[in-house]
């Protein structure tokens, strides 16, 4: 029961990732694509931790943490570039 509910939660997160990928592909300006990239980074961090639960290996939690750090740095760098301050 718990496995089925958690698999449904991961499936909904994957659906959210795909919908924000649609905005990433369609978004008329670079700002919209960067916002979609931010959302995709957060959802992907949570999905990597969910993959750690599915595989039962704790090391993937650290992988998710590092992915969140790198994604945050990337989004802030792109946003500062678009603002014109970099």
């Amino acid at each position: 029961m718990a496995e089925i509910v958690f698999a449904a939660a991961a499936g909904l997160a994957v659906l959210g990732l795909l919908l924000s990928a649609v905005r990433f592909a369609r978004g008329p300006w670079a700002i919209d694509r960067t916002v979609a990239l931010d959302v995709m980074t957060i959802i992907a961090t949570s999905l990597i931790v969910a993959f750690a639960v599915f595989s039962g290996r704790r090391i993937y939690v650290d992988v998710g943490m590092v992915y969140g750090l790198v994604g945050f740095a990337g989004v802030v760098a792109i946003a500062r570039y678009l603002e014109g301050g970099l």
Binding site: G16, I42, S46, E83
Partner: protein, 114 residues
Amino acid sequence: MNEIVGAFVSLAGSLFFLLSAVGLLRMPDAFNRMQAGTKATTLGSILFLLGIGIMKPDWLGRMVILIVFIVLTNPVSSNALARAAHAHRKRIGARLEPDALAAEDGGKEAGHAG
């Protein structure tokens, strides 16, 4: 018992993920998309990771570290994105009626292509 409670908390979190993605698709301009995209994913990831921490109590410390990290960094990236969108506000066609930041900056726009 722990497992099923944690799974339902994670399900609530992923529902917020899905809602933020739907808001990202349906909102009219970049500021509204930012509003839908950053707040809802913060709450969604808090609930999702807390649910995993309830499911596996020996992972709870790492989940709390991740939650604190996301709560600290997500408003920072949201602020940087909002300033970037404000620098291109004419081009993206956003309506900003009381615009305090433009009055502060003297109304300059970023020059390069967006």
